[in-house]
């Protein structure tokens, strides 16, 4: 038994690792050793704690003190001051929006306080490489319980919980299992979809990295419920840490007898294999995913038949998302009724979101369904960065849509979002402010779709390309009103005629921005204006001679040297040469440079 006084949990999630977590950890350990404290202070790497913008982060127990933006120097100081002398190092503490340092973050910071943790309950708490820690937090008790129930009772519990798939479409999980269970077949499969192709989404990765056993346990329960003997986790190759932790966890689960033959002394047997995908977005689509597991090219096929009827190698297969599966043990342990205490009637439970964009706190958050966008953005997200005005929220990634600011009191659940032309999707949530151009947003997502279309069907292959061309035309100031009509028509055709979900949902970003921000499209084509002053072709940078003090800062950063002027004299920008990189506006400390739209005609600007 280890002797411990303090435990330092350091986040080894992807974001924190790239922010330098390893060097912080090394510094911590070295320093602890120096003081002979390495035997009594444990340093544990955990999964993503959710506050990724603050990384590398660490929480020191038993006090629960939360340190952010750590460096090796900060680590040294923390060992010397906090661990050795019990003095909290203020300057490395998390700071509340008003600038006050907050030591005990989990109770005091709204970012954490408003969240309900079901799926992410172990993230940042346990060491994901130690099965014992998962067990200490009630791990594998749900499997033990399920194995004492009849499979149909397990399914009933999941049905009663109202759990809906977290991979995008929100299909009722219990119903899916029931359909698979009813099939008569010699073999059945359970697949965990960990492809996570949405740009900006990383909740599935975080769950796999931070609590892999929860997914394994969920899969084993699903397998028992439907009568499967074999499972696959389909995970993209870009997630090496998730794969590594999953491998360790699988090995431990086998050792303890939670996988393999005679699971927990019963005659149920089930094992899981990892399949690594190349990371094409379409491979997350279930039929393409199955083709990929079977060793074919990851291309979708027509449904029906659905995977629950004819899945892997023609056998009934249940495919569930990582987050969906991670909900399962909790539900079996606590019961459907307890689960329904969170969320809404039709969308029970919680949802994990990757909060990104123009909010102060970005990161991973788990909230009860039905929470309003306002609470999510202002209380958990801490409000709009730079105190700008909220313009819209984009949910559901490339398959989703934009919700304008006036709907800020909309509850976040499957139906409400759908009604507004957005979707829950897998949980990407990008907050946009007045500096974001909605036409450009649509263009961004379409660019992604065009790149990711597998090319099997024409509407998706050709249609999305055509849409992208039109959007590019509009953002470069060449668009016409007919283009907008054409764009809308195309969007509707592609939606109805594409083969798989990728093509069917690709027009959503365009349709939803057209629905709420048509003005902005019109401004681009009629007045050649980009109201958000984002589209380069439609703006000019100008220097106000009244405000310019002639400090020359702008002239020095301009990469094309198009700014001229004497020291202490007003400067001017040569519009013909300007590449609109925006470097100058950032360095001017006198607010003399601004963006104007429409762009200045080049001849007039040069005086």
């Amino acid at each position: 038994m280890p002797l411990t006084t303090n435990t330092i949990l350091i986040c080894a999630g992807g974001a924190c690792i790239s922010a330098g977590e390893k060097s912080v950890k090394d510094a911590l350990e070295e320093e602890l050793k120096k003081y002979g404290l390495d035997e009594v202070v444990r340093v544990i790497e955990t999964g993503c704690m959710g506050a990724c913008t603050l990384g590398p982060i660490a929480v020191i127990y038993p006090e629960g003190v939360f340190y952010q933006k750590l460096t090796p120097e900060a680590a040294k100081e923390i060992v010397e001051e906090h661990i050795l002398k019990g003095r909290i190092v203020e300057k490395h503490l998390y700071k509340a929006p008003e600038g006050k340092p907050v030591p005990r973050v989990h109770e005091e910071v709204p970012f954490f306080k408003k969240q309900v943790k079901i799926v992410t309950r172990n993230l940042g708490i346990i060491d994901p490489t130690k099965i014992e820690e998962y067990i200490a937090r009630d791990g594998y008790f749900a499997l033990a319980k399920a194995l004492q129930m009849k499979p149909e009772d397990v399914i009933r519990e999941i049905k009663d919980s109202g759990l809906r798939g977290r991979g995008g479409a929100g299909f009722p999980t219990g119903l899916k299992w029931e359909l698979a269970a009813k099939q008569k077949a010699e073999r059945k499969f359970v697949v965990c979809n960990a492809d996570e192709g949405d740009p900006g989404a990383f909740m599935d990765r975080s769950i796999l990295e931070g609590d892999p056993h929860a997914v394994i346990e969920g899969m084993a329960i699903a397998a028992y419920a439907i009568g499967a003997q074999k499972g696959f986790v389909y995970v993209r190759a870009e997630y090496p840490l998730a794969i590594e932790r999953l491998n360790i966890a699988l090995e431990q689960a086998r050792e303890y007898g939670f996988l393999g033959e005679n699971i927990m002394g019963t005659d149920f047997f089930f094992d899981i294999e990892i399949r690594i995908g190349a990371g094409a977005f379409v491979c997350g689509e279930e039929t393409a995913l199955m083709a990929s597991i079977e060793g074919e090219r990851g291309q979708p096929r027509v449904k029906p038949p659905y995977p629950v009827e004819k899945g892997l190698w023609g056998y009934p297969t249940v495919i569930n998302n990582v987050e969906t599966l991670a909900n399962v043990p909790w539900i079996i342990r606590n019961g459907a009724k307890e689960f329904r205490k969170y969320g809404t009637e039709t969308s029970p439970g919680t949802k994990v979101f990757a909060l990104a964009g123009k909010v102060k706190n970005t990161g991973l958050v788990e909230v009860p369904m039905g929470i309003t966008l306002r609470e999510l953005i202002y209380e958990i997200g801490g409000g709009i960065a730079g105190d700008k005005k909220l313009k819209a929220v984009q949910t559901g990634g490339p398959s989703g849509g934009c919700i304008p600011a006036e709907y800020i009191d909309t509850p976040v659940d499957f139906e409400s979002l759908q009604k507004l032309g957005a979707i829950m999707g897998s949980g990407g949530m990008i907050v946009m402010d007045e500096d974001d151009c909605m036409v450009d947003v649509a263009r961004f997502f379409l660019e992604f779709t065009v790149e990711e279309s597998c090319g099997k069907c024409t509407p998706c292959r050709e249609g999305t390309k055509k849409m992208l061309e039109i959007l590019e035309k509009i953002t470069s100031g060449e668009g016409t009103e007919e283009d907008i009509e054409e764009l809308e028509k195309l969007a509707n055709v592609i939606k109805d005629t594409s083969l798989c979900g990728l093509g069917q949902t690709a027009p959503n970003p365009v349709l939803s921005t057209l629905r709420y921000f048509r003005d902005e499209y019109l401004a681009h084509v009629r007045e050649k204006k980009c109201p958000a002053k984002k589209c380069k072709a439609l703006i000019s940078y100008v220097i106000d001679p009244e405000k310019c003090v002639g400090c020359t800062a702008c002239a020095r950063v301009c990469p094309v040297q198009c700014i001229s002027g004497q020291v202490r004299q007003p400067h001017v920008i040569d519009q013909a040469e300007c590449v609109r990189c925006g470097s100058c506006i950032e360095v001017c400390r006198f607010g003399a440079i601004s963006k104007v739209t429409p762009a200045l005609p080049v001849e007039e600007a040069v005086e």
């Binding site: 411990t4 006084t5 067990i135 200490a136 008790f141 033990a144």
Partner: protein, 126 residues
């Protein structure tokens, strides 16, 4: 580790693992032992004291008392000093806590609830 064959076996693993986890202090604790680890405390042997306390707690299976370090309590002449703070009781500061004394404190104060009078240097809030 052998295979888990029953709920009872799983329960046993949980209990053991929970103890380890609880030492991290995230669950309810009945009390806290603070070892002063200022420069003077360390010079007087506070590190050995700290180890002895943790060992004694583990030996007796006490998992609901946290052990933390603090800076100098300002009682340098009686270092190493240790404060014992149990729920619902006034805190007691002990002085000259050698490893042997530390074991006595754990045994008497933590386990039996009796203050070790001969070591007390201060009672009540500092």
């Amino acid at each position: 580790m052998g295979k888990v064959k029953s709920l009872e076996e799983l329960m046993k693993i949980k209990e053991q693992a929970l103890k380890d986890l609880q030492l991290r202090g995230e669950t309810g604790k009945r009390g806290k032992i603070t070892v002063a680890m200022g420069t003077c405390g360390i010079a007087a042997g506070a590190k050995e004291t700290l180890k002895a306390i943790v060992e004694a707690l583990n030996e007796h299976g006490v998992d609901d008392v946290a052990v933390v370090q603090s800076g100098c309590m300002g009682l340098c002449e009686v270092e190493p000093t240790v404060e014992v703070r149990l729920e619902g009781q006034e805190p007691v500061v002990y002085g000259r806590v050698t490893p042997e004394n530390a074991k006595r404190i754990v045994k008497m104060h933590i386990l039996e609830g009796r203050v070790v009078e001969d070591l007390v240097v201060k009672r009540g809030e500092v």
